[in-house]
């Protein structure tokens, strides 16, 4: 048994180590060390908890068993998961944090003596409020992440699900959560606690179903933030500094990522949350659906164009992830580089299904990170480049965002692909992107469409180079 003060100091140390873990991510060189700090912080927190409880009876054995079972499952997943499935993995992990928060809140509610919070039916008011917040936010995180996971995994359609009165219903449920918390605190009635958790699960589900597939970067970041707030809520209940610090860190981290993603789409956070984007009226789409001429080519043409270029900019998007084309792409780039062609990669903030998705895939394919550039860094270079090779991206290159105030994506920062001397567009068909709008780029004179699977096309081009 160690004293409460000593363990509080150790929790503080692990909180500081978690801050250093995030700090390490400011550059790839320090990032691995940062992750190591995070692991040490976790080990300290767990060890101190064992020592402060000081109960090494048979219960301890069971704790170790469950810890190992979970650990083995986690390690197995971590080694097996393909990098393209990272968004699903992160969504799945969020749901676990949320559910764990709910379970901890439940056991604190059933057995408050274990946490020094009073007695069943007479739980301290402040603790009960914190507990309810932790449980409710945890439940929302859980069910919301499950929906996000199903949508990303393709088990559930990525299309937004909307119905009449949706926002009103959500608002009513949110208000009822607040009212329930109030009555729970005044009556200490355990039934109210269960109802509270139940409707929190429901609202998490309802909040995420109207949000479409390409808005997932925002949703994942938002759920990341929620899982942090849930942890902080539990941290207040347990009076644990490590949890409070971590919850605040994770909460603000997720919030910042959501903000960055929203900005990348030029949409307000509420606009994304209210959902329904991309399901806009079909009529406006059909209206301008006259056939416009498109130039299409094959791998040979593409290889010819690139061979005669002196600089090429690659624009990857979600389609590259779907086709698992990142390795084939890197081989193509290697061949180009051997021919003395300068190649760089341009990444839009919302390319892919989660923040930094494309960067991870390129890193997996051994693309050095100093060849990969963010939108602001590279956008001026398009004018000087000979070829832009767009692979699996669409809306993020659409010049309409700069020219047509009527367009739903007007104002969104886009890559100035059209300024290149020629544009190669690898795409399976002419279908519009997620936003449901036509890309003017397809019909430009200097654009060559390559209709094929991204991976196969890149491989064919490499052969022809």
């Amino acid at each position: 048994m160690i004293s409460a003060n000593l363990s509080a100091i150790f929790y503080l140390i692990s909180g500081v180590l978690f801050i250093l873990a995030l700090r390490g991510l400011s550059s790839p060189e320090t990032s691995r060390q940062g992750n190591f700090y995070g692991i040490i912080g976790m080990v300290i927190a767990i060890t101190v908890t064992f020592l402060s409880v000081g109960n090494f009876s048979s219960g301890f054995v069971y704790v170790m068993i469950f810890l190992c079972v979970g650990g083995v499952i986690g390690a197995f997943i971590a080694f097996k998961i393909p990098m393209t499935a990272m968004p699903e993995l992160v969504a799945g992990f969020h749901s676990l944090v949320g559910l764990a928060a709910v379970f901890v809140a439940i056991s604190a509610f059933i057995n408050p003596e274990a946490f020094n919070l009073g007695y069943p039916g007479e739980i301290k008011l402040a603790s009960l409020i914190e507990m309810s917040i932790g449980a409710a936010v945890g439940a929302i995180t859980f069910s919301g992440s499950i929906i996000a996971f199903l949508k990303l995994q393709g088990i559930m359609s990525g299309a937004p699900i909307t119905f009449k009165g949706q926002h009103l219903l959500n608002a009513l449920i949110l208000i009822s959560i607040v009212i329930l918390t109030y009555f729970l605190c005044t009556s200490q009635n355990s039934n109210l606690f269960w109802i509270l958790i139940g409707i929190s699960f429901l609202i998490g589900f309802l909040l995420i179903i109207p949000i479409g597939g390409a808005d997932m970067p925002v949703v994942i970041s938002m759920l990341n933030s929620y899982s942090g707030w849930a942890a902080a809520g539990i941290g207040f209940t347990l009076e644990n500094t490590a949890l409070i610090i971590t919850g605040a860190l994770v909460g603000s981290s997720g919030a910042i990522l959501s903000y960055i993603m929203c900005k990348g789409m030029n949409r307000s956070f509420f606009n994304v949350i209210l959902g329904g984007f991309g399901a806009t009226d079909q009529s406006s789409k059909d209206k301008n659906k006259e056939q416009k001429p498109v130039k299409s080519g094959n791998a040979d043409d593409a290889a010819f164009l690139m061979k005669n270029a002196s600089s090429v900019i690659i624009v990857p998007g979600y389609g590259m992830a779907v086709a698992q084309a990142q390795h084939a792409l890197r081989e193509m780039v290697d061949t180009l580089k051997k021919n003395g062609i300068k190649v760089s990669y341009a990444i839009h903030p919302v390319a892919g299904r989660m923040p930094g998705h494309m960067n991870v895939l390129l890193a997996e394919a051994n693309v050095p990170y100093d060849e990969v550039f963010e939108l602001e860094e590279i956008n001026n270079d398009f004018a000087n480049a000979d070829v832009a090779f767009v692979i699996g991206a669409n809306d993020v290159t659409n010049p309409v965002a700069k020219t047509d105030p009527q367009s739903p994506i007007y104002g969104m920062p886009v890559l100035d692909v059209e300024k290149c001397k020629s544009v190669l567009f690898v795409k399976r068909s002419l279908s519009p992107g997620y936003a449901g709008i036509d890309n003017d780029l397809f019909y430009k004179e200097n654009t060559l469409m390559l209709f094929a699977d991204a991976k196969k096309m890149t491989e064919d081009i490499t052969k022809n180079l």
Partner: protein, 103 residues
Amino acid sequence: MEIDPFIFRLSIFILSIFVGYYVVWSVTPSLHTPLMSVTNAISSVIIVGAIIAALASDEGSIFTSSTFFGYLAITLAAVNIFGGFLVTQRMLAMYKKKKRDKK
């Protein structure tokens, strides 16, 4: 007059939000995916609550309803801790600098 310990915790919380704010803004955009997986792993420090709940059993009864939820939470959090840190490690190992020697 004595200050409620809650106020101290609230101060820690608010200051940590600010620390988080500045630290996360300095994270390079190319590492945003590892950022998400590592925040995932560290938020599983909620396991400390689960351990307290699981070990709170009175003599003899290892599985009461409250310890049961504790054990479940331990398992979930452990999946996340090991999974989160290891997958972050795996991702970060892939970020390399350009090699000097061009093959």
